[in-house]
Symmetry: D2
Subunit: 162 residues, 4 copies
């Protein structure tokens, strides 16, 4: 079984039509898995539903703790792209020498907005997590990076190797 | 670089609004890669644009030949789901002991119809192909099977292990 | 109150992902009205769910009868485009001198396929029906024609005045 | 010919994937007319591209002036919903006794977000403008109101008669 931990991020942003602003409500993960006709055995758990720019050290400690105590050895974490690398590195440090394969992924465009990269990234992350050796990874743009070898280029929005 | 060979299938079906029927025109692969914000180095080549129920032995021989002569060691083939397993097995037999990782994928719903599983499957196939050892695989429903261990369940539309 | 009579047509075609063919199941009208945030007082009734090329004289007699006995004076009929004009003319002949405003509309692309003209046409038909004098009309492509002054150009798919 | 004046509003909001915020770029009107297979003879002109909460008296004076000098007697104005009624009333006062039919419309959800009411409202406004007598109207939710008899209910987002 694959554990999916939801933390929010662009993935799950929605449009509030009364206020004209973006906000978080429920995760779209189950709907996305249905659309992708996924037949993987997964357990989804929402840890928080926030913009990753607002993620605190305490939030990261919570994510680390959930990974540490997870019964599953394959974990996918959906996460805002702005601080995804930071969380990946916190996980890598805290779980050094672990037996789990952890893949973080996200989206540049909200799933609810029709033209999102989210479904592509989700398919990608769920695939990498099944075959990569234990470690912490970031899966974005069809690529997969280890936590210590990646950064988000803020000008292009693209994740790249360092 | 990853080679993508396009053969048609549901992936690329479109709606002909004058005739009210489904047909093939051009592949949607480049558009899908753009939507997924893919930054993979890929080369797309359309070999044919057909329903996989109409795929002949000659068509399969052509696909085998293109894989055999491909400069790339990672190959993704988009294919109709009805005979995807048959083509995978033809490839496995013809390329025994090869050095290439070949992943076939497809879709249950045309990409052009908005609610397709295609983007999820494409993200999945492009990820599996980067990390799996040489061999021929089918990537559908988030799972990956070796060519000799899979069948399509025609009643549910789901690919399952045998 | 506006009466909406559903007869099928491209509007309501869906994709059968097991068979790879188009078919009719339930009407999308309620979902379309919801998407359009319609606040009109409407009553939807499905009379049949067929391709308009298969519509018989008996089917048309049924539509006429429902219009004749309708309590509402404003009626929108969703209909396949191929024989929409024929049904409009049958209604015009049968209901000469009537007190009802009847507007037929349809779509070139199924609503379920994401890029449909259906929502535009529905908004159009529901607007014309509220303000036009009694008579039978066809509302397509943003235009409105009386039943005796319109034809579908089969080469372009466009409805035009004659 | 129908004149379409674009002023921005939710209709034309887009998602900036680098900043994660909503913004205005170009109008989606031509794309929407294409999707609706509109065959109306229209001339689109963008006057401004703003949130209607930021519309000033000078902006409204500009809209009035464009309507006053328009060669076309049928005018559709796309507008943010928050102050649509205010602009409609400014037009009604300034153009009293005029010979033009002016219909304002908008959307609760951006067209670019896939699940918008915009296409429905556009089809509606373009239909009302062809058949209503001279005057200033608001077309939303499938309904049409004269400028002096409508308000937006800010709690429900629905336009209603007063």
């Amino acid at each position: 079984m694959i554990r999916i931990l939801v933390t929010g991020g662009t993935f799950d942003k929605e449009y509030n039509e009364l206020a004209g602003t973006l906000f978080f409500k429920d995760t779209h993960l189950p709907e996305m898995l249905r659309l992708g006709r996924s037949r993987l055995d997964v357990a989804v758990r929402t840890l928080m539903m926030i913009d990753s720019l607002e993620m605190t050290d305490a939030d990261r400690a919570l994510i680390v703790e959930h990974c540490r105590r997870s019964d599953e050895r394959q974990i996918v974490i959906t996460h805002g792209t702005d601080t995804m690398v930071e969380t990946a590195q916190a996980l890598a440090v805290a779980l050094t020498g672990g037996t789990r394969t952890i893949v973080l992924t996200g989206a540049m465009v909200p799933y609810a907005f029709g033209s999102s990269d989210g479904l592509f990234n989700l398919g990608s992350a769920l695939s990498f997590v099944q075959v990569l050796p234990p470690g912490v990874y970031v899966a974005m743009n069809g690529r997969c990076f280890t936590a210590d070898r990646v950064r988000k280029n803020r000008e292009t929005g693209v994740f790249e190797a360092i």
